[in-house]
C-alpha cells in the first residue's frame, strides 16, 4: 500500500525541489509552458530556458535508467495526440500557465488566480475523461 504511493510522493518532492531551485537560484517560476514558449519565441538571454527544457527529458531518462522502472507507453490514438496537443497548447497560452506554473508554483505563492486556474483545469479534465470513457 505504502509502496504504491512511494513513487508519486518521491516524484512530487523532486518537482517541489526543482521549483525551489529555480526560484532560489534564478528567481523564476518553474512553469513549463511559459518557459517552453519563451525558449521558442524569445532569442535574447534565453539559453536558461533551453537548458531547463533539455533537463526535462534528461531527468526522466536518468530516472528510468537508475530505478529500472518501466517506460510507460501511451495508449491514446494519433488523433487524440493531435487534438489533445492542440487544445493543451492553445489553453495553456491563453490561461498563462499549466500544472507546473499555476498548480505547483502559483498556489505556493498563494495566488488566487493560479488556484482558480488549477481548480478549473482539473475539473475540465475530470469532465472530459468522464464523458470520453463513460458516455461516448
Amino acid at each position: 500500500m505504502l509502496e504504491a504511493y512511494a513513487y508519486p510522493i518521491t516524484g512530487g518532492l523532486l518537482i517541489g525541489i526543482s521549483a525551489t531551485l529555480m526560484m532560489l537560484l534564478n528567481g523564476r517560476i518553474a512553469g513549463v509552458s511559459g518557459i517552453f514558449w519563451g525558449a521558442i519565441t524569445e532569442h535574447r538571454n534565453s539559453f536558461w530556458r533551453i537548458a531547463f527544457i533539455i533537463g526535462l527529458p534528461l531527468g526522466a531518462y536518468w530516472f528510468h535508467l537508475f530505478s529500472g522502472a518501466l517506460i510507460p507507453v501511451s495508449d491514446g490514438s494519433v488523433v487524440q495526440a493531435i487534438l489533445g496537443g492542440l487544445l493543451v497548447g492553445f489553453g495553456v497560452k491563453l490561461g498563462s500557465g499549466c500544472t507546473s506554473g499555476h498548480g505547483v508554483c502559483g498556489i505556493a505563492r498563494l495566488s488566487v488566480r493560479s488556484l482558480v486556474a488549477t481548480v478549473i483545469f482539473m475539473l475540465a479534465g475530470i469532465v472530459t475523461v468522464t464523458i470520453v470513457r463513460h458516455f461516448l
Binding site: L14, P57, G84, A108, G125, T130, R133
Partner: protein
Amino acid sequence: MKAISIKILSALLSGIFFGAGLAASGMTSTHKVLGFLDIFGQWQADLLFVMVSALLVTIVSFRFVLGRKKPLFDSNFHLPTNASIDFRLISGAVIFGLGWGIYGYCPGPAIAALSYFQVDTLVFITAMIVGMALSSFYMKFSSK
C-alpha cells in the same frame, strides 16, 4: 559571461530534477493521468500525492525564498504581476483541461517523455506548439 553560464547551469539542474520527478511520479504515463482524472470510474488516486507533496515543499520553501531581497544568481525575482481572474484565464484553463483529458499529457510530462522516443509524443508536442502559436495569434487580434 560567468553570471550567464551559472544561470544556465541552475536552470538545467532544475529541469533535470523536474524531469526525474515527473517520470518518478507517474505523470509521464498518460494511462495513469487519465485514471486519476476518471474519478467516476476506477479512480487511481496516486497522482493526488504528486501535487500534494510538491506543494508541501514549495509552500514552505517559497515563504523563505521570496522573503529574500533577491535570488542567488539574478538581481531580482521575475514574478507574474497579472492577478486578474478574467475570461482568458478561465477559458484557457477549460481548454487546457479538455486537451489534458483527451490524451493525458500536460506540457511538462510531454516534453519529459521525449526521452522515451515514441512518435506519438512528438506528434503531441508539435500539435501543442501549433496550439500555442494559434493562441498567441488569437490574443494579438482579439480585445481583452
